[in-house]
């Protein structure tokens, strides 16, 4: 399976906001090294999951026609470690969406086993996406949309909320 850091979307408001869930399992390979005897989820992977949630939100707003790529993380703040057994919720809101790209405000909440409610705010970040210029990216990559392709499309059919259209 592709590098996908989302288990399921909880909510999806086209072009506006999305919430997605990830279960953090000790069986995930990176915990063996990060760190031996002290497993914490690597911060860049949390940003990646947040960017995937935001990237799918931004991509869907244009029916997955654009090649949405992460261009910049203007800031990211990490308030505490996330550990195995927790669930994290990526909470993403679109700040700007234009033909050239988009910006989202992202938050991650973490919830331990049995905890109710939204959980504790652990990460705040702003993420900037560019739409790869159609004309130029076609010369380089051809017609194929390499961002929203293959396994990701199939996975989206399963993890998007019911009634939400996956990429055609």
């Amino acid at each position: 399976m592709r590098w996908l850091w989302i288990d399921r979307f909880l909510d999806f408001q086209r072009g506006k906001s999305a919430r997605a869930l990830k279960n953090i399992s000790l069986a995930e390979e990176y915990f063996a090294d990060h760190f031996p005897g002290y497993p914490v989820m690597p911060a860049p992977l949390m940003v990646e999951g947040l960017a995937q949630t935001g990237g799918i939100l931004v991509g869907e707003a244009n029916d997955f026609r654009e090649k949405v790529v992460l261009a910049k993380v203007p800031y990211a703040r990490f308030h505490r470690d996330v550990v195995p057994g927790e669930q994290i919720v990526y909470d993403v809101e679109v700040l700007s969406l234009r033909p050239e790209g988009a910006v989202v405000q992202g938050k991650i909440f973490a919830r331990g086993p049995g905890e109710k409610g939204n959980g504790e705010l652990v990460v705040e970040a702003e993420i900037f996406f560019a739409h790869l210029d159609q004309a130029r990216s076609q010369q380089i990559f051809g017609d194929r949309n390499f961002v929203f392709s293959g396994e990701l499309k199939t996975a989206l059919q399963h993890i998007l909320p019911k009634g939400q259209n996956p990429p055609a």
Partner: protein
């Protein structure tokens, strides 16, 4: 209507956020690329932030034109912008002060036109336009 000083202050704050520079590095004459280290993607980030901050609409390529001199081979000769090219520049960027540039219009120095002052002047014009035509303001601004 904000004064020019107020606009400059907000433009500076925007650049501090977008480029991760210190506030005291941002002076009117600072160039975005040379002094403040802006890269191509930062220009788009700056445009998005200015739109949100000032509630204005910045059409693609208006503040930061991508290829002014590619339209006509007569715009540039031997690495210098021709008189025709300078006219094009004035037409496309009426908010730019090209009085220094036109003394030695080497095309590679075009980036030096893009200063904090230029953005401030541009925003001032757009804010006035938006005040004159409230309907044209972007939704949600």
């Amino acid at each position: 209507m904000p004064t020019r000083d107020e606009i400059f202050t907000k433009v500076s704050e925007t650049l501090v956020e977008a480029l991760n520079v210190d506030a005291d590095e941002v002076k009117p004459e600072s160039t975005l690329q040379g002094d403040l280290g802006a890269e191509s993607i930062d220009f788009l980030d700056i445009v998005f932030r200015l739109e949100r901050e000032f509630g204005i609409k910045i059409p693609r390529g208006e503040l930061f034109p991508e290829s002014i001199f590619q339209g006509d081979p007569e715009f540039v000769k031997d690495g210098k912008v021709t008189e025709k090219g300078l006219s094009e520049l004035r037409a496309r960027m009426p908010f730019a002060d090209i009085s220094d540039f036109e003394k030695d219009p080497q095309v590679i120095k075009i980036g030096e036109l893009f200063t904090v002052e230029l953005i401030t002047r541009y925003v001032e014009i757009k804010v006035k336009e938006a005040a004159a035509n409230p309907q044209s303001a972007p939704q949600g601004a």
